[in-house]
Symmetry: C2
Subunit: 209 residues, 2 copies
């Protein structure tokens, strides 16, 4: 096979990490706008082009940790416990994600994100990609065509729950409040999508791939 040792990959990962660390340190120190890509490159002791070889843009340096967000949402749908209804699983995952980014040590980072318009815009367009991925996971899970409106709607609503919670003074309560509404929406749309029995007990797992 062609993936045994990997000194190259380790070095590459190390370089990436070095850049991300340097960027975050400088951003927190001087503020996002006051730090240039050239500063980051110098601090990490790499060339400017190397920074862009690892990160799509300046904003991506900030959201490096947030990468598994999408994966966790999809996993919440596909890999949940048998017989566990969809919505509670989704709600629980959103809860966890919200807690994660409102925790004490992560707070300064998210405060910075809130204060820089470019970062807010970047985050939201990220969330939209996540919503599309979640929608795809939902349709796949239920064996529905990929463009099914109800699934794409629920996916966006779930992302909204996260965004609204992040803006809220009481994030956890907001998640619950929004999810009450989402569940009502889902129960309105679901009957025409999944066979009634599946709704009743919600063992819609083992969907025909």
């Amino acid at each position: 096979m062609t993936v045994p040792t990997g000194r190259r990959e380790r070095k590459k990962a190390a370089t990436r990490q070095k850049i991300a660390d340097a960027a975050l340190r400088l951003f927190m120190e001087r503020g996002y706008d006051a730090v240039g890509i050239r500063d980051v490159a110098a601090e990490a002791d790499v060339a400017v082009t190397t920074v862009f070889a690892h990160f799509a843009g300046k904003e991506a340096l900030v959201f490096d940790q947030d990468e598994n967000f999408e994966q966790r949402l999809v996993q919440a749908v596909h890999g949940r416990a048998p017989h566990e209804p969809l919505m509670p699983a989704l709600r629980r995952e959103i809860h966890a994600l919200v807690r994660h980014c409102t925790s004490e040590d992560a707070a300064p980072l998210w405060r910075m994100i809130d204060e820089v318009p470019a970062l807010r815009a970047y985050e939201e367009s990220m969330r939209l990609r996540h919503a599309r991925a979640l929608a795809a996971a939902l349709t796949a899970h239920f064996g529905l065509p990929p463009e099914t409106t109800a699934c794409r709607t629920i996916a966006r609503f779930a992302i909204d729950a996260f965004s609204l919670a992040r803006e809220s003074t009481d994030p956890e309560a907001t998640v619950d409040e929004v999810f009450e509404m989402i569940e009502a929406a889902w129960e309105t749309a679901a009957p025409s999508l999944v066979r009634p029995a599946a709704i009743a007990e919600d063992h819609a797992d083992s969907a025909p791939s």
Copy 2:
């Protein structure tokens, strides 16, 4: 009063229009990315700085027409017919807005927007501002505190309806489908916000300012 003649304002508006026209013409001709701000300025026969005096950025040149979007949403809430329930009015307005930007003559523009990532991102952050304005209109209309979660949620859901419809192959049907879900969500959240009588007949107009 001090607003009688207004040659200055006419000239200013004319300049703005000249820039917007030039930009749109060039964008459609050569594509958004292939046209630089300097090209637009030259075509409109103005200085580059003048372009930025009228538009916040390159993307704003594309969404110049779309300005009254927010105003129309707010108006749909505040200035609707007496005794007309909220949701149908909102749904009708979204329908109109969707029709407006999927019409024949507007189609090429929106196709371009869909193809350029920077424009999609800009549009979505615009929509978020609209959602906030709509949320403010809702809370004001019902005499609720500005941070009420249910209103901010419904506002975002309504914006989602628009966005999902724009992405859909059958926009009109998508609006209806999403709004069925939104109404269910609203009926779940509303009882704890507005007095039951107001929900029943939904004459929640003439709200205490």
